[in-house]
């Protein structure tokens, strides 16, 4: 099957730092592709070049056969972008947010249908500033899908969310994938990558140092003779801390 996204020898330099150093990978239609790596590895820069937000120094990104560098305006019609911290102008109703984002693509949609997809129809006439962090994330996801994109980008979508909101978001991302949309996301959380991603690219210092399914990456590691230290502790440092400082919540 032909790849939805084709990245070839992509490079980006900031001053004397080679942020992205010649990476190549493909993303298939309808898969969740995770980009992992420590801070400063070049994950976000890679994502931003694919989203038309950053100039590409050399190499290319093709989405559905269209070159991002040569045709950014066309690319914008087929991608959806979820920023790290979604924000909306205040005093705007949820229905109006959907209406505006659809209008940005020149389209008219039924806002309620999109709010229902992310379980926000009860909040339809509220202002965006009344939403919780998780609700804002969900609203942001549905606004990124109003125009029926082929690729959906998420930059560390679950950072700062509580465990319930995280799991809810994972479900939503899976639903997006099940519609046949390719999902590209960055994350710091290994559990998230393991549960959610079909394939993973691990980046460090601007290079991809491993690329496979989570299962095969683990298998390969075990084959190399890796064993986890197995021991059972009676207590850990957290227990010590709680014992010393007590369980009550503190002010400030």
């Amino acid at each position: 099957m032909k790849a939805m996204i084709e990245v070839k020898d992509l490079k980006k330099r900031y001053g004397d730092k080679q942020a992205v150093d010649g990476i190549s990978f493909d993303v298939k239609k309808g898969e969740i592709f995770g980009i992992l790596g420590p801070n400063g590895a070049g994950k976000t820069t890679t994502l931003e070049m694919m989203e038309t937000l950053r100039e590409i120094d050399s190499g290319f990104v093709k989405i559905d056969g269209i070159d991002v560098k040569k045709n950014p305006q066309k690319i914008k019609y087929i991608i959806g972008v979820q920023p790290q911290t979604p924000a909306f102008q205040d005093k705007t109703r949820l229905t109006e947010v959907i209406e505006m984002f659809a209008a940005a693509y020149g389209e008219k949609v039924d806002p309620m249908e999109f709010l229902r997809d992310v379980d926000l129809e009860e909040k339809a006439t509220n202002f965006v500033e009344d939403l919780s962090g998780g609700q804002k994330q969900r609203l942001s996801i549905t606004t990124a899908l109003v125009h029926g994109p082929k690729v959906f980008f998420l930059d560390e979508p679950t950072t700062g969310l509580d465990p319930q909101a995280r799991r809810n978001l994972w479900e939503l991302i899976e639903q997006v994938r099940d519609k046949g949309i390719s999902v590209v996301m960055t994350t710091h959380y290994m559990d998230e990558a393991e549960i959610l991603c079909d394939r993973i690219a691990v980046m460090d210092e601007g290079k991809i140092i491993a690329l496979d399914t989570p299962k095969d990456l683990i298998k390969a590691l075990l084959k190399r003779g890796f064993t986890k230290k197995q021991h059972v502790e009676q207590a850990n440092l957290e227990d010590v801390f709680i014992d010393l400082t007590g369980k009550a919540l503190r002010e400030g």
């Binding site: 038309t52 505006m100 209008a103 020149g106």
Partner: protein, 369 residues
């Protein structure tokens, strides 16, 4: 193309609704200029009547002097300070400009001298260096008053005289100038302070960045803002006109359609300055200093708070080219002098020129983040 305008329409519609939901925006867009209107309107309310604060020191006890003192105290032009009774007190107050001049009636003022039929005397008007103008004006006022009195006593023929007559033609009052200036101030406030406050905030929150991943074009975004500004600006100015007409008796001589067209034209040009500043600035710290450099000269030199005709001539020439000046002049010419758009082509041309310049810059320097 039809889709492109649908985009603009939706952005315009929702952002204009947001303006009316935002109490702070309503206050700065509508309430704030109204406060200025009331303050300046009240200040100018009685500026048509000139008056002098004087001290009256009467050293004479003649009946004529008493009569004359009473007349002066009843005068509308002269306000007599009742606390001052001695010359040293008067000098003290004059040195602090609390009074403009002192009128001294000497001891023999109004006495009938031996061998004469009528009372006579010479009043003195004393003033300090910094009050020369009012002192001299006061001298002529008293002089004229004495001439009238002299005429009653001696029936000599006066071969030459001056007759003054008020023409029925309406002239501009100070309020007419002030009102046009305040409209200019409102246009300046909305067009520049709006974008320079909002854009850096939108950039900080990443809202503009998110929009830049959609096919929305900068020109579509700008046009939707222009339409919104024209709408809210016209509403704000309409309220100012209503108050000026109802409370301060402003008489609008010109054609309302021409006035609206001209005001929209001016609003959009001034908005361009705000779009250039706000669109360029990455954050508030970048926006504030540059906008102050640009806004303050216009605020003080374009005739917002004091009319330009009070400035020295060279400054009038320079300030005539500031972007806001033709807007204020044009509004005043149409609204209070009733001229047509064809008569203010120099102003329209100057605004058009600025519009081209500011929008070229605005499109060039705009950044989404």
């Amino acid at each position: 193309m039809k889709k492109a305008f649908y985009t603009i329409w939706v952005f315009y519609k929702i952002n204009t609704k947001r303006f009316f939901r935002d109490k702070l925006a309503l206050f700065f867009g509508i309430g704030f200029p109204l406060i200025f209107l009331f303050v300046f309107g009240a200040l100018n309310g009685n500026s048509n009547s000139v008056s002098f604060n004087v001290a009256l020191i009467n050293k004479s006890d003649s009946s004529f002097a008493k009569e004359f003192t009473k007349d002066i105290k009843g005068s509308k032009v002269l306000k007599v300070n009742k606390e001052v009774t001695t010359l040293s007190e008067a000098e003290d107050k004059m040195s602090r400009s609390e009074i403009d001049a002192a009128i001294v009636l000497p001891a023999e003022f109004g006495d009938v001298k031996k061998g004469e039929k009528y009372p006579s005397g010479q009043a003195e008007v004393l003033y300090t260096q910094n009050n020369q103008a009012s002192g001299q004006a006061l001298g002529s006022i008293l002089d004229a008053q004495f001439k009238g009195i002299n005429g009653k006593f001696t029936h000599t023929v006066q071969p030459f005289s001056v007759k003054t007559e008020q023409l029925s033609k309406k002239s501009l009052t100070a309020f007419d100038y002030t009102f046009a200036g305040l409209l200019g101030f409102a246009i300046l406030g909305m067009g520049i302070f709006g974008p320079i406050n909002v854009f850096p905030e939108l950039k900080k929150m990443g809202i503009l960045r998110r929009l830049s991943t959609t096919p929305l074009r900068v020109w579509q975004y700008f046009v939707s803002i222009m339409l919104g500004q024209a709408t809210t600006g016209l509403i704000s100015l309409a309220i100012m006109f209503a108050v000026a007409i109802g409370v301060f008796h402003l008489k609008v001589a010109g054609n309302y359609l021409e006035l609206i067209a001209f005001i929209v034209f001016g609003i959009i040009m001034i908005l361009g300055i705000g779009l250039a500043l706000g669109g360029w600035a990455k954050n508030e710290r970048q926006a504030a200093p540059l906008s102050n450099i640009i806004v303050f000269p216009m605020m003080f030199l374009s005739g917002t708070f004091f009319p330009r005709y009070l400035m020295p001539e060279w400054l009038q020439h320079v300030s005539g080219f500031l972007p806001l000046t033709p807007v204020i002049d044009g509004v005043r010419l149409i609204a209070t002098e009733g001229v047509h758009l064809t008569a203010i082509l120099p102003q329209i041309g100057l605004i058009a020129g600025w519009m081209v310049i500011v929008y070229l810059i605005a499109f060039k320097v705009f950044r989404w983040e």
